[in-house]
């Protein structure tokens, strides 16, 4: 697989796949798949009778259908399963209408809500998904149904893309941003511009003034946290609360969101980037069941 071969590509996080060796998929009745083609990353999740069997998580290429294929192939790798064994595929995410083998496309909001309900259980009420090019806040009921949502995909502030701009500016790896931003003795004032373009000029100024990278990152992570808390307050935050998506792995942002909200986010048990694809696979299972019943 694509390894981190080019040290200048600071945005690269590790691509991964996973499989539960204890599940015998051949004994399963319904094999359902969700594929989330995001603007930055793509995931495929395979469920066997509603149990998580395998998943993959990779960077999205320039071509959505190809990215969907790649994610699917990598999730299937080593399982002995082929696409013909799958009963129902749901596509979701930014590129959801371009998933070639999907029977249905479902919005990210619906899939993330459902995925979070599976990941964290029925007590989950508020989900914040911080993706590569968007930021979503979702309130769900105990069944994983959406009660309220908002999605911000217009502006790069508060998204992974915004963080990448900063990682590039400072010449550090995106996965190191969080840890590094916590290595400050006290919190600096936050970067005052919301707009990534203006925030970047502001940060360049701070670097020229002699601020260490850690302090600049802390100022930006704080600003990002403040911004998403602001967004969350439009919906109201009720516990249990969880953060999914790529930025959910950034402790610098997550810990500051928790601090500002005065609420701890649930610790993820699974890779939070698969939440959308997982929700898609759960809908795929429900739709397959519905189809079989009506026959």
């Amino acid at each position: 697989m694509a390894e981190d071969t080019n040290s200048k590509e600071y945005w690269r996080w590790t691509e991964s796949n996973w499989r539960d060796p204890d599940i015998d998929w051949k004994a399963g009745e319904i094999i359902s798949v969700g594929i989330d083609v995001g603007s930055v990353s793509s995931q495929a999740v395979i469920l066997v009778d509603g149990k998580l069997y395998a998943y993959s998580n990779m960077r999205t290429g320039s071509d959505s259908p190809k990215s969907a294929e790649n994610a699917m192939d990598w999730a299937l790798e080593g399982t002995g399963m082929t696409q013909d064994d799958i009963h129902y595929v749901v596509g979701t995410g930014y590129g959801r209408v371009n998933v070639p083998f999907a029977k249905r496309a479902i919005t990210e909001i619906a899939c993330h809500a459902r995925g979070a309900n599976f990941m964290y259980g029925p007590t989950i009420k508020t989900v914040l998904d911080m993706g590569g090019q968007d930021c979503k806040a979702i309130r769900v009921d105990q069944k994983g149904k959406v009660v309220a949502f908002l999605m911000n995909d217009k502006c790069a502030a508060g998204t992974g893309r915004g963080m990448e701009v900063f990682a590039n500016l400072l010449g550090i790896h995106i996965t190191e941003v969080g840890e590094m931003s916590l290595r400050v003795e006290e919190e600096p004032p936050m970067v005052s511009s919301t707009c990534v373009v203006f925030a970047k000029s502001e940060a360049s100024g701070l670097l020229r003034e002699g601020w260490p990278k850690e302090k600049v990152l802390a100022a930006y992570c704080l600003a990002m946290a403040h911004r998403v808390v602001d967004l969350l307050e439009r919906l109201g935050v009720e516990e249990d609360f969880a953060i999914t998506g790529g930025i959910g792995k950034n402790v610098g942002v997550v810990s500051r969101i928790e601090k500002e909200l005065g609420i701890k986010a649930l610790k993820p048990t699974l890779d939070t980037q698969i939440a959308g694809a997982l929700g898609g696979a759960l809908f795929a299972r429900a739709l397959e069941q519905k189809g079989r019943k009506s026959k």
């Binding site: 249905r104 479902i106 949502f149 908002l150 911000n152 217009k154 911004r227 439009r234 809908f283």
Partner: protein
């Protein structure tokens, strides 16, 4: 359900909130909007139901500050056509 379409950027918060529980999918708002911001479709966040609701079109979600601008003059702002048209009080604008 409270569906918030729109965004927050450096210049402010611009959301159209649709209370879909009250929406009857009558389409009056769709007719009333002079810029095609609204449409009635199958509920995009409840894929297992067959209920239809009003939504902000995908094409307009990232630019409602601008598209809705002419309905929001700086002075002497009249009531918004979409809100006036809705018999169920479904629509709210944040700005």
């Amino acid at each position: 359900m409270k569906a918030n379409y729109g965004y927050k950027d450096g210049s402010g918060e611009f959301f159209i909130t649709l209370d879909t529980d009250r929406c009857t999918a009558c389409g009056d708002c769709v007719e009333a909007c002079p810029y095609g911001v609204l449409e009635v479709v199958d509920d995009p966040v409840d894929p297992l139901s067959d209920v239809q609701v009003a939504v902000v079109t995908e094409a307009e979600r990232k630019k409602i500050k601008y598209t809705c601008g002419p309905c929001k003059p700086v002075v002497d702002r009249p009531p918004l056509p979409c809100m006036t048209a809705c018999p169920e009080d479904v629509i709210a604008h944040s700005w």
